[in-house]
Amino acid sequence: MIMLSKLLSFNVFDAENRCVRLSDLSVALLDSDYPPITNIFFEMNKKLMKVAWKNVQSVNLKEKKFIIADLDSAEEVSLAGKNDYVLLKHEILDALLLDLENRRPIRANDLLIEKVDANWLLRAADNSIGAILRRISFGFYNHVGGNLLDWKYVEFLRGNPAAVSSGAGYHLRITRLPPGDIAQLINYLPYLHAAELLTLLPNEKAVKTLEVLPLERRLQIFEELDEAEAVGLLALMAPDAAADLVGLLQTEMMSKYLGLLPKKQSDRLIELLRYADDTVGGIMTNDIAFLPENLTVSAARTRMRESFGTADFIYLIYVISDERERTLRGVISIRSLLSEDDDRKIGEIMDPYISTLSAFDEVNAAAYRVVDSQLAAMPVVGTKRELIGAVTIDAAIMQIAPGTSAETLRIFS
């Protein structure tokens, strides 16, 4: 077990006893939880040279030596455009890392390397003040404390979203965190690191993460994504969150993205974008579940599975006259849909006494009505009482108290 800061004081010797100063080591991040060292680097004749780890004959810890056969066998390297390895000193040491266990960003004050059989593995990151002291004390302070972060639970980001598609390696353990935790981490990161992190995530999780970020932050990161990635995420986003985001884009970019989206999602966004911010339409979602009143409970369950499996808001199901007119008749809960007899009609079990909002109502007053109603959402109807959407309690709270949380509330949608 040795710290990188100590290894960097080593020299590289060859069989002829020629000596150069070690300048860096590289690891292949994709290889395993504890990536092995793949190359050693040094400068010779003002050129950066590398030797593969397998060609290192021995390491003498006492004399601080790496021994290789021949310095002249080293290969000259350029750091531009490399993807197959990461430099420990140049890239990871002092860089921003994600400590996934404690859900926080840290700086790598030092790195722990451990010898396992023939391999030397990157085992942990040291974020302690002791690590800083070790590095600046010229060897007088060598204590290694217990405050080491297992590398398995550390994610290294390069600050370049394009690195993900160009094959750079990642642990990808970050993908196992819940979206809210990832969003919190993203809020601490510089925007290019944040975009890189978002690009790493599977689309479903990236969407959930993006939706809870504050709107300005959402835009800042979204604009750094490449076009295919951006359209892919927009297609999966809840329409209200997507409409908020698209409404902030430059007009040309907005038209382009709306044109590239699947027609169903594009139409939903356009419908929401028709309403100004200070109206109920500006905060409603139109991806809601609704059923015709003449359907039986059994048929309604099938319809729910087939048509509304991915709906943004499904905690309340609105009952309409028929698919064409969509006149709002009442509401049922998921609970009653599950507990009622199969043969009963939806119209018989629905609650017909329902408060509604108009899409053009003033937004603040409407938000208070939703909160006061203690309902998960309130339906929004058009001039002929046709169902056009719903304002969820999350949207209402964010409208009334936008500073309540650093992230956007998305509990019911």
């Binding site: 002092d94 700086r107 590095r135 300005e216 594009s266 974008l273 028709r274 100004a276 339409g281």
Partner: protein
């Protein structure tokens, strides 16, 4: 039952009209866009306002950071320049405006292109040694200047008839509350409002009825005097105008504002506008004291900003003094918040600690603790009677002098790093101006430090 009213006896109910809208709500005009060949009117688009409002919204980190430079120490230096040498040093401010604008713009660009503060980039590119060195000096120097800001708050309030034992604690609590409990957007707005107090100086300058021909001559015809007081004041003006904390704050707040490389244009305008505005205010201070103290009594020595305000009274009356004091109070309050904030940003960035005014105390404990400590210590020491502030400020000036060339080198190296900056890398013209500023500042710092050291051994670099 006999009391029951018959329907025709009931009072008719008037239709309720109060509080109801008299006309349907006006819909916003919206924007007609073409999507998939359909022309659709969208009202939900969030577009930047047009006209004056658009320009006002651009202003932010640049104007705040540069205005904070016109703090108690700055006012003392600029007032001394005017009182001792009349309009002779205005040309330096004109040259400095170009340098200042270039340096501030580079910091704003670094912030927008990387999303990282200056100390974060220094840590990543130059390692822990340089980072610790820079952070160490930043903490000590900024801590000292913070103290001088609270001394400034006390002095200004006493000129306005309020005891420092009342104004300093109130000022400290106000600044603390504003930053700890405010969001960045709110804090930025209040800081911007605070910059309005700087208009006190041009008003004071006009009240002094300066000779505008002499002002123009001082501005565009360089004068160099081989006189130690002149040289040291010239160096002082350089060091007061371009200061490391202004650069650190500018970059960190551009990052916190959420500016990205795609929307860098407004940040550039803000940086340029801030530099020009702040230096115009500095020039007004020189003009105000030159037109009054220098014109009436000849070369006059001033030790502090409060001295300048007091000295103006017999010449132009109490209103100019009050204006000067109001300016000093506002400037000290603004810098009293900006300096601890710049320090908190610097330390947090260097060590990867979550940072930002937007965080709540739970998420930004260390960031706000550094801020709180600086405010408490600064305000506390400022309240100690007969605290030897002057020797302390000389020491701080030396520290800032050492730090400034170093910070400028870091900025210039970083802003030329293509892997960081991409197409926002420095142009050749910016490099010439940037490195020119570095040389000018370094020479000034060497002259100042060299002169002070020689004086300690009884040598004089220049004649009296």
């Amino acid at each position: 039952m006999s009391n029951e009213l018959k329907p025709e006896e009931l009072e008719p109910i008037e239709p309720v009209t109060a509080g109801l809208p008299t006309a349907p709500r006006r819909l916003s005009a919206g924007l007609r866009v073409n999507i998939r060949g359909r022309s659709i009117k969208l009202r939900g688009l969030k577009r930047q306002p047009k006209g004056l409002m658009r320009w006002l919204l651009i202003l932010g980190p640049g104007l705040i950071a540069t205005s904070a430079g016109n703090d108690a120490g700055g006012i003392a230096t600029y007032s001394s320049a005017g009182a001792e040498f009349g309009y002779d040093l205005i040309w330096v401010m004109i040259v400095l405006t170009v340098s200042f604008a270039v340096v501030q713009e580079m910091c704003a660009r670094l912030g927008a292109a990387t999303g990282r503060g200056l100390l974060a980039l220094i840590r990543e590119r130059f390692g822990i040694g340089w980072t610790l060195f820079t952070v160490g000096i930043v903490v000590v120097a900024n801590g000292g200047v913070t103290l001088s800001e609270f001394v400034g708050i006390g002095a200004a309030s006493e000129l306005l008839g309020v005891s420092r034992y009342i104004s300093v604690p109130i000022g400290a609590v106000l600044l603390w509350y504003l930053v700890v409990y405010g969001s960045y957007a709110k804090v930025e707005k209040i800081f911007l409002l605070m910059t309005l107090v700087f208009f006190a100086y041009p008003i004071a300058a006009f009240m002094g009825k300066p000779d505008w021909t002499a002002v123009a001559h001082g501005a565009f015809v360089p004068t160099i005097k081989l006189d130690s007081a002149y040289i040291f004041l010239l160096v002082g003006v350089l060091g007061t105008t371009i200061t490391p904390y202004i650069q650190i704050f500018q970059q960190s707040s551009v990052v916190e504002r959420g500016a990205a490389r795609r929307h860098y244009g407004p940040e550039k305008i803000d940086a340029y506008f801030g530099s020009v505005f702040s230096n115009l205010m500095s020039i007004s201070m020189i003009v105000a004291t030159a037109a009054t103290l220098f014109a009436v009594s000849g070369s006059t020595k001033i030790e502090s900003a409060a001295d300048a305000a007091k000295a103006l009274e017999p010449v132009v009356g109490s209103s100019a003094t009050t204006l000067f004091a109001v300016g000093l109070l506002g400037a000290s309050l603004l810098a009293g918040a900006v300096l601890p904030l710049a320090t908190s940003y610097a330390v947090s960035e260097a060590f990867g600690i979550p940072k930002g005014v937007n965080l709540d105390f739970r998420r930004g404990k260390t960031f706000f603790s550094i801020f709180t400590t600086l405010i408490v210590v600064g305000a506390g020491i400022a309240l100690i009677p007969n605290v030897p502030i002057f020797p302390l400020l000389v020491g701080i000036q030396v520290l800032n002098g050492v730090l400034l060339p170093l910070v400028l080198v870091f900025i210039l190296l970083l802003v030329n790093d293509e892997s960081l900056m991409g197409d926002l890398k420095n142009s050749r013209t910016k490099n010439v101006l940037g490195w020119g500023t570095f040389v000018m500042i370094t020479v000034a710092v060497v002259v100042m430090l060299g002169g002070q050291m020689l004086e300690m051994f009884g040598f004089k670099l220049f004649g009296n």
